[in-house]
Amino acid sequence: MNGWVGENISVLARWIVLLPLLGAAVAGAMALAKVRRGAHWAAIAGVGGAAALSVLIAGGFAGDPDLAMRVAVGEWMPIGIGASFGFYIDGLTAVMLATVTVVSFLIVVYSRGYMREDAGYPRFFALLALFVASMCVLVLADNFLLLYLGWEAVGMCSYLLIGFWYRKPSAANAAVKAFAVNRIGDLGFAIGVLTIVLTLGAAGYGEVFGRVGEWSAGMATLVALLLFCGAVGKSAQLPLYVWLPDAMEGPTPVSALIHAATMVTAGVYMVARCGAIFAASPVALEVVAIVGGLTAIYAATIALAQYDMKRILAYSTISQLGYMFLGVGVLAPAAGVFHLVTHAFFKGLLFLTAGAVMHAMAGEIDIRRIGGLRRIMPVTYGACLVGCLALAGVPPLAGFWSKDEIIGAALHGHPVLGMLAIVTAALTAFYIFRMFFRAFHGELRVPAEAGRHAGEVERWMRWPMALLAAGSVAVGAALGWPVGHGWIERVLEGATAWSGSAGHAAEEGGVSHWFVSGGLTVLALAMVGLAWVLYRGGRGVVERWGVGSGAGRALLRGAYGLVHQKYYVDEVYQAAVVGPLRRLAWGSDATDSSVINGVLYTIAAVPRGLGYGLRLLQRGAVQGYALAGLVVLALMLLAILRLAG
């Protein structure tokens, strides 16, 4: 990279991490000092500064996309495996940094309005800024141990922010659930990292990726699958996705930032970053693609039957993350990362609009209880429409470009999963417009508790939504045009060289790709139309046709109930994993308190009882002692006389 950015990249990269960290420190100090006023400025300045620097770096990469560089910041563990505070900056890093910090910045600004009256105001901004700093460490790391540090730091921030309203039992439980489920994935990830260090004696990306060939095929598969284990937990894929819907208990900006736009994409980033390892193992890539494809369609079906706006969006997020893994798994990492970028914009936007609705409706976002909001919330309505169109994949909005590339590549590399992805795209368009029409169209329905809040939200919340909406419109075409040769492909080319020529499967199709794009567009619009027909009146399918008797109606009700209850997966996990573990814990506890403590108490009881008996002799009467002494003396004399006689 040439020019000013290239020369100063070492300083720039440092400040990208340090600015949010400073913001977090200032806001944290204010939280401790119980100062509310102006706490948001610390976070806004820190994250905003990082966003400006990141955009600068990304802009620098536009000039020279092939370049990659290491920035040594400091020594960490001088044990000869390359575990240092070092940054690795290439196209992938630049794209991730820009996405994370820009979306974070807008959401932090939004939080100023959303959290205005919350008691934990400064604490919230301290945690948000800390999260952004951790995420930047994760993305910038040049070795697996620093990556792991960032990985766990974002997990901790996620835990603290899901449980932000810690007095609410459901929020506290959701935080614990997120943390515990992530532990399962992270255990695999940690073992994977340790395996890399043990077998290669190195943790730096450059050395590890250069020496992947030293592994046998089985070893490469093992390492790749262990790493993927961490990605499955962090990015909420089957079977560890269960924490993400519950994570919606946190404040909505947290859902938007951490559980939609940034942290959950860390798994995708990590798999793309470690592509050299995955490319060495066709089996692992196959697993990534299958898990991604299945998760995409599975979560999309659940989203069909949810009523809570944030839950619909949460399952949608799981589904879209599945797309990203599918893209990476079929050797189209650029498409997967592209979808990551566009998804960060439009899903962040959708969550912010859901937050705006929640704000205006006094916490009520059940689409059975609200409706017709376009009349009282025109800005939110417009923003949500843009987000929904982008998610549905309607051209020329952002989601269209990236989703198309993934589906094109999937059809080329894995036709079955490609078909599934097309079905998922149709479901996606349907469920998101089901939410949209029920919430914003039809007759005006506002829950009574909303009261005077019902109306458009304030300036601090409107502007971030407007900017994200602009991003959701523009970012796809700006980065992805022309298809297969867009800015993002050029920037990512060096970082995703491991995928070889297969990464450009989509463009090789030529005519067939345009056929797919056209077909998908028609499909998406058709599903939007279907949703319009079914839901514009504000009533649901089951409410209309599922009432009454008859086998068909009962079947509809049953199927809907099954999906609404999320296929009872939480209950199955509860019975199959949590229940036995809890019983084991009870058993251990009982053993501890009865057997082990029992033995100890018994041993202790012997001297205690002896002492208790002997205590009776100590009567405090001096004459009694004398008498006892006399008796003993007499007996001793008697014994002596006997023995002598």
């Binding site: 002997l614 205590r615 009776l616 002799l617 100590q618 009567r619 405090g620 009467a621 001096v622 004459q623 004398a626 008498l627 006399l630």
Partner: protein
């Protein structure tokens, strides 16, 4: 000399018994203290008698030391009794049961 040992031992035993019975039965601390002194004298008589019986001087030498120790002990003991009396206005041994286990 040996034929005269028995009466001394008997006398010593009788005096000792008097002291012992007094010590165990009386409740007044001063009387109990006196009784213990009586038992002391019984021991001293026995010591002198045995000394004469064996024709050695150790018995009488020990007696000198015993008398000195007994005098010191009497001073300490009486001082303690006075302190006890000042503290509780009674010398009844039955009431002194604070050390009961």
């Amino acid at each position: 000399m040996s034929q005269h040992l028995l009466p001394y031992i008997v006398l010593s035993g009788l005096i000792f018994t008097v002291g012992l019975v007094g010590f165990v039965t009386r409740r007044n601390l001063i009387v109990m203290f006196l009784s213990s002194e009586v038992m002391f004298q019984a021991v001293i008589i026995a010591a002198v008698a045995f000394g004469r019986f064996h024709g050695t001087l150790e018995g009488q030498a020990f007696v000198m030391m015993l008398l000195a120790v007994a005098a010191a002990e009497a001073a300490v003991g009486l001082a303690l009794i006075i302190v006890v009396f000042r503290g509780r206005q009674t010398l009844d041994a039955e009431t002194l049961t604070e050390m009961r286990g």
